[in-house]
């Protein structure tokens, strides 16, 4: 068995993380449904409680702390539904995680797409 090599700035979503984040991801997965998104926005904290999120997970949701959500076992697939709820796209999310402005993040993508940086 060959374990995953650690990569800086990367949270391998493996069994350990998936155990940790199960409730969080289940909540985010539910946001596929419009009625759940509505329920969530009415009372975010109550919705987190309903799915059994722990304190760290609930705090990270309330604070839009994407890195905190990853550390708490979030999977980017389901966190993307949460981002959608906040009307954030993947570049907004990228900026939050990297500590850049959205414009800086986009410029970095363009540079990389050209093989630079």
């Amino acid at each position: 068995m060959c374990p995953l090599t650690p990569v800086e700035g990367t949270y391998h979503f493996d069994g350990k993380m998936s155990n940790k984040g199960y409730a969080l991801n289940k909540m985010c997965y539910s946001l596929n449904a419009a009625e759940c998104r509505e329920e969530f926005s009415k009372d975010e904290k109550a919705y987190c409680e309903k799915f059994g999120l722990n304190e760290a997970q609930t705090a990270a949701i309330l604070n839009r702390d994407i890195i905190g959500l990853l550390e708490a076992g979030g999977s980017i697939y389901y966190l993307a539904k949460f981002a959608g709820q906040l009307k954030l796209n993947m570049q907004d999310i990228g900026a939050i995680q990297t500590g850049m402005t959205v414009e800086e993040f986009k410029a970095m993508l363009v540079q990389r797409g050209q093989g630079n940086g």
């Binding site: 990367t10 949270y11 391998h12 069994g15 539904k81 993947m90 990228g94 993508l109 990389r112 797409g113």
Partner: protein, 280 residues
């Protein structure tokens, strides 16, 4: 007998679907991407497939962590899509196919591929965006699609070599089916990208161009990589290259690269388009 006439790689980024919904194809941001597609659409028009076998990954619409298949395939006569939670419009249902699908499922399981076989499944943007981008008027209801979903989300994920081997069995199964059908394979997703973590925004043009070259000339070179190596060289979601390998594995005849386009970024992701003609 059924024959494989081509393999096509294409991105399935949701932003592509959103751009098409909003007529943004000619804007400077999207133009270099969409400019790659007309030759492929023309080829599909001139060489209409009866069946498309579409390798994709579900991003949390049909499958959740509760029961997540390594490899799932559809055998239904229709596939609905649905609200994914962040605003991509749904498109008309995708037409399915049952006879060839069951023939393939039977061949695969007989040959020790442990498929999850789906008589009803919703397909997400991984499947719908490639259909929309190839048939932009959404006039695809006459094309029968066999969707094949590969786990690209939660580790453990299938090895690249396993995905290439899966494709090989798809090829054998298709070519042993006793109806005259033209089959085109779609390998969707990729190329380098990473959505999560402080490393978000990772793109490697070098790795992508290497993959596009090796996919034609030496797919085993890609298949020899571990999932860890792909993450390092292509980003955490770069593992979607597994769908390209599955597609490529099915083609063991003569290949002719008819068209190719690389463009990055769209959203956070590098895109690669290849039209590979296949004959014996």
């Amino acid at each position: 007998m059924a024959k494989i006439t081509a393999g096509i790689t294409t991105s399935h980024i949701p932003a592509i679907g959103v751009a098409m919904d909003n007529n943004l194809e000619e804007t400077p941001y999207f133009k270099p991407f969409f400019d790659g597609y007309p030759p492929v659409r023309q080829w599909l028009h001139d060489n209409p497939p009866d069946v498309v076998v579409l390798f994709y990954n579900d991003h949390g619409l049909e499958f959740f962590l509760d029961r997540k298949p390594t490899f799932a395939m559809g055998v239904a006569d229709k596939y609905e899509n649905a609200d994914e939670g962040w605003g991509i419009a749904t498109i008309p249902p995708i037409t399915g196919e049952t006879e060839l699908s069951w023939h393939i499922a039977t061949h695969l399981i007989e040959n020790d591929f442990d498929m999850t076989v789906c008589q009803e499944m919703k397909v997400d943007h991984g499947c719908t965006v490639p259909m929309s981008v190839m048939w932009p008027d959404k006039n695809y209801s006459h094309i029968k699609v066999i969707p094949v979903a590969i786990n690209c989300e939660r580790h453990p994920m299938p090895n690249p070599s396993r995905c290439l081997a899966l494709g090989k069995e798809f090829g054998k199964a298709i070519e042993s089916f006793d109806q005259d059908l033209n089959v085109v394979l779609f390998g969707t997703g990729g190329m380098s990208h990473q959505l999560d973590g402080q490393r978000a925004g990772f793109i490697s043009r070098e790795f992508d161009l290497w993959c596009m070259d090796k996919l034609i000339t030496d797919p085993q070179a890609i298949a020899d990589l571990s999932i860890s190596e792909i993450i390092q060289r292509g980003g955490a979601q770069g593992v979607e290259i597994n769908m390209w390998l599955a597609m490529r594995g099915a083609m063991h005849g003569n290949l002719k690269l008819l068209h190719s386009n690389y463009y990055a970024p769209i959203s956070n992701t590098a895109t690669g388009l290849q039209l590979i003609e296949h004959s014996h």
